[in-house]
């Protein structure tokens, strides 16, 4: 499909990440070297958040992002469908993160406190209640969830087409339970916000 066919279409920002990634990958495979740079710029934020959801410290997470891209230039020929590139990158990122995480036997100092310090007290004025919700308020409620819920929610927030079987393996859960757990975690978060009078 030519890029121009898609450009006029009203896409949500979310959809377009995957579509744009697929287009870049196609151009890169077609021999356009600069398309890889574009792909890196589009997908690095998604990879970052997925890897951090696995609990890697800052430096190790940066390294895992780099390794994911090195794996792409080495093994990218395995990706035969350009539409599959986003999923391939995320799966590779998750595996890299998981491997790094299980090799580091040190106890991870919690970075929660540092993270929260960077948050402004309220988000910019927007329309709905959710959008008006201040970052620090939402963070308080997200932090109240168990670790598994926090991870799962962060992963799916950045990945519209999550690979449930891979995630299930990483988080030590049966595949069939990921969907229900995801709903349960979101319900918990919503209830907690409602109870706190935030919604």
């Amino acid at each position: 499909m030519a890029a121009s066919d898609l450009e006029g279409r009203p896409e949500s920002a979310e959809t377009s990440v995957w579509v744009r990634a697929a287009r870049c990958f196609e151009r890169w495979q077609g021999g356009e070297a600069a398309a890889l740079d574009e792909l890196v710029r589009i997908m690095t934020p998604v990879l970052w958040h997925t890897i951090r959801a696995y609990g890697l410290a800052q430096a190790a997470a940066e390294d895992a992002v780099q390794n994911t891209w090195l794996a792409l230039v080495r093994n990218g020929h395995q990706v035969t469908e350009s539409a599959a590139i986003g999923g391939w990158l995320l799966t590779t990122a998750r595996r890299t993160a998981w491997r790094a995480k299980s090799s580091d036997t040190r106890a991870m100092p919690t970075e929660d406190a540092q993270l929260a310090a960077g948050l402004p007290a309220s988000a910019a004025a927007e329309t709905s209640a959710l959008e008006q919700l201040g970052g620090s308020v939402l963070w308080e409620h997200v932090r109240g969830l168990d670790e598994r819920c926090q991870r799962l929610i962060r992963i799916v927030a950045f990945d519209d087409r999550p690979d449930y079987s891979g995630i299930a393996k990483d988080l030590g859960m049966p595949i069939g339970s990921i969907g229900p757990t995801r709903r349960r975690c979101l319900d918990k978060l919503r209830n907690s916000l409602e109870k706190g009078g935030q919604l």
Binding site: T44, L70, A100, W139, A157, L186
Partner: protein
């Protein structure tokens, strides 16, 4: 899943993390440099960084800080201790540990440090030790090159 069916709560969570834990400044650029300097024709096992920390050697200013880095790949781990020498120069002490059972002779390894200014090499000793007495600070990459047919290892780019 179509974006329109997405729970708006997930979008809020996404905004939260984007704000809370943003992609580190310069990461994308480092990835692009790493890709540009990667020679694809060579086969390497990629070493993944599992740990990075600053250790305060003295009580004075940050100049006394030692940097400790640890990388791992199947069968091998490398630990680097980086200490400031003078201004922009660094000393690197490295230790290679093989995590596979040591059956018979281990092939000799050479450590090769790639930097923008050039490449330095150092032999890895009997007990896995190697050192670079004085190398410039900056973006670096370590390769462990074997004399035998064993796989060779390469780290990603890291800052020293």
């Amino acid at each position: 899943m179509n974006a329109s069916e997405r729970d708006p709560l997930l979008d809020a969570v996404r905004r939260l993390y984007t704000e809370l834990d943003p992609v580190p400044e310069g990461l994308t650029e480092r990835v692009l440099v790493a890709l540009a300097v990667d020679d694809l024709d060579l086969e390497f096992e990629l070493l993944t960084m599992v740990h990075r920390s600053q250790q305060l050697a003295g009580v004075r200013n940050g100049d006394d800080q030692k940097l400790v880095l640890e990388f791992t790949a199947p069968g091998l781990t490398v630990m680097l201790r980086v200490s400031p020498v003078d201004g922009d120069l660094r000393r690197i002490d490295g230790w290679v540990t093989r995590t596979t059972d040591g059956k018979g002779e281990q092939p000799e390894l050479t450590a090769s440090l790639w930097q923008e200014a050039g490449t330095a090499t150092a032999p890895v000793g009997q007990h896995g030790r190697f050192e670079f007495a004085s190398v410039p600070a900056g973006l670096s990459r370590l390769d462990l090159v074997s004399t035998g047919d064993d796989p060779e290892f390469r780290t990603t780019l890291f800052e020293i």
